[in-house]
């Protein structure tokens, strides 16, 4: 799924440079805890999160995340956007809640890119 489609589906807004629209996304994960993301996200996923700081972009970079979608209308600060532009990780914001945004994208065909939890984090 192209970024433009994602933006349309969740009625979102792209916050970074538009040339990144070309990226193709096939799966996603929703999480607010960065350690959860680092532990269980598959490479090349979209990350839906309610967390909104530069660490999200750093996490995305480390975990090979393709794009970050901020839910509940969160808007990252300029520094976060700057890092994202520099590292070419598109940022999208949507006023939808986490549940609804995930639901819409999943229904539209995005797969779950969350690895099954290991028994040691029960």
């Amino acid at each position: 799924m192209k970024l433009t489609e994602i933006v349309d589906l969740i009625n979102g807004e792209l916050l970074t440079q538009e040339e990144d629209y070309k990226k193709d996304i096939t799966g996603a994960m929703g999480a607010d805890l960065m350690s959860d993301v680092l532990a269980s996200i598959k490479p090349e996923a979209a990350l839906l999160t309610g967390l909104c700081n530069p660490q999200v972009v750093r996490t995305a970079l480390i975990a090979d995340i393709r794009t970050i979608i901020f839910v509940r209308g969160k808007n990252p600060d300029r520094e976060t956007i700057r890092i994202a532009n520099e590292e070419q990780i598109p940022l999208i914001t949507t006023s939808l809640g986490m549940f609804e945004a995930c639901g819409i994208l999943h229904k539209a065909g995005l797969l779950s890119y969350e690895l099954p939890a290991n028994d040691d984090c029960a």
Binding site: A39, R58, D120, C121
Partner: protein
């Protein structure tokens, strides 16, 4: 940017693309066509038309003694053809009010001039006012595309050179050491060192999987230094062809119960840290999952040393797979 330009608003700056940036970075002389075919003012239009047809020109500067006196374009020749008069000098039909640009102006100046005027080409002058080239919109597109490609190749080249590092240097044991100082509470730069480490590993020829696993481990360790130490600490990464050793060390306060700290979900982080998405008690667990070997040594008086080792003995994973 000089004072004569209006300040760029934050809103506007957000939408600036790399291509737009390049329009400011690139200078006109970098994209213009040099060795311009010029015409003297005293040749007949008939002759100019022949040259245009043969050389497939659409315009040419007109020059006397090296000074630019006008510009003759295919449109001027069409005008002359309409009036059925090709037996006059070029100077009769050429444009004399020529808009020029300077060779060291940024490309964006030429773009602005193109949109302000209706000209298809602009003569380029040096400081002394001598013609040094000509620029068209096509030159600008080509120049921008080449520059974008150069950006792309620069990274490829860095990667190529770095990945040959271990082949080029002969010793009994070659290693590359990267060191980073991590400040306590520096959340703004949190993850910066880890991003750089991950990038370095990729450039050195590590597979994306190895770079990702090392990146995650060292990122968790970096955040621990930022969150939990008295005075921050250091990251040290030693890269060898068959092994990557990552160390995080600090001078306190030390971990009281190492066994407990290793349990998933155990955390001493404050609510503030948790609100930032960290402190879920998964850091050390994540690290352990990512690397081949992990050792945590900590005491109340000496602080904490965390060793994370990744072995690259798998044939596909070594940093230089020659032979």
């Amino acid at each position: 940017m000089t004072d004569e330009h209006p300040r760029v608003s934050d809103e506007f700056a957000k939408s600036i693309t790399r291509t737009e940036e390049l329009a400011y970075e690139l200078r006109i002389h970098e994209v213009m066509s040099e060795n311009v075919h010029c015409l003297p003012p005293d040749i007949k239009l008939e002759e100019a038309l022949d040259i245009f047809q043969k050389e497939r020109f659409s315009g040419a500067p007109v020059i006397t003694n090296g000074d630019l006196v006008g510009l003759i374009s295919i449109e001027d020749l069409i005008r002359a053809l309409r009036s059925g008069n090709l037996d006059v000098n070029v100077s009769e039909y050429m444009t004399t009010k020529v808009v020029t640009v300077h060779e060291y102006d940024p490309v964006v100046e030429a773009l602005k001039t193109f949109s302000r005027t209706n000209f298809g080409r602009l003569p380029v002058l040096d400081k002394q006012g001598k013609l040094v080239g000509i620029i068209t919109k096509g030159d600008i597109s080509n120049g921008l595309l080449t520059a974008l490609q150069r950006d792309y190749h620069a990274e490829e080249l860095i990667r190529y050179r770095a990945s040959h590092l271990f082949e080029d240097i002969v010793s009994h044991r070659t290693s590359l050491i990267l060191r980073y100082e991590i400040r306590k509470g520096d959340f703004i730069h949190g993850g910066n060192a880890s991003s750089n480490i991950k990038r370095a590993l990729l450039r050195l020829g590590a597979t994306p999987q190895i770079a990702r696993r090392c990146g995650i481990a060292v990122y968790e360790a970096e955040m621990n230094l930022i969150i939990h130490t008295n005075h921050g600490g250091s990251l040290r990464v030693e890269v060898e062809p068959h092994k990557i050793t990552m160390e995080a060390y600090d001078d306190g306060p030390g971990i009281e119960d190492v066994e407990q700290a290793m349990k998933p979900g155990y955390s001493t982080a404050t609510n503030e840290i948790r609100e930032m998405g960290f402190g879920a008690g998964m850091g050390l667990v994540n690290i352990k999952r990512c690397v081949d070997e992990m050792r945590l040594i900590s005491s109340r008086d000496r602080g904490t040393n965390l060793y994370m080792i990744m072995y690259l003995d798998d044939k596909d994973n070594t940093l230089n797979t020659v032979n």
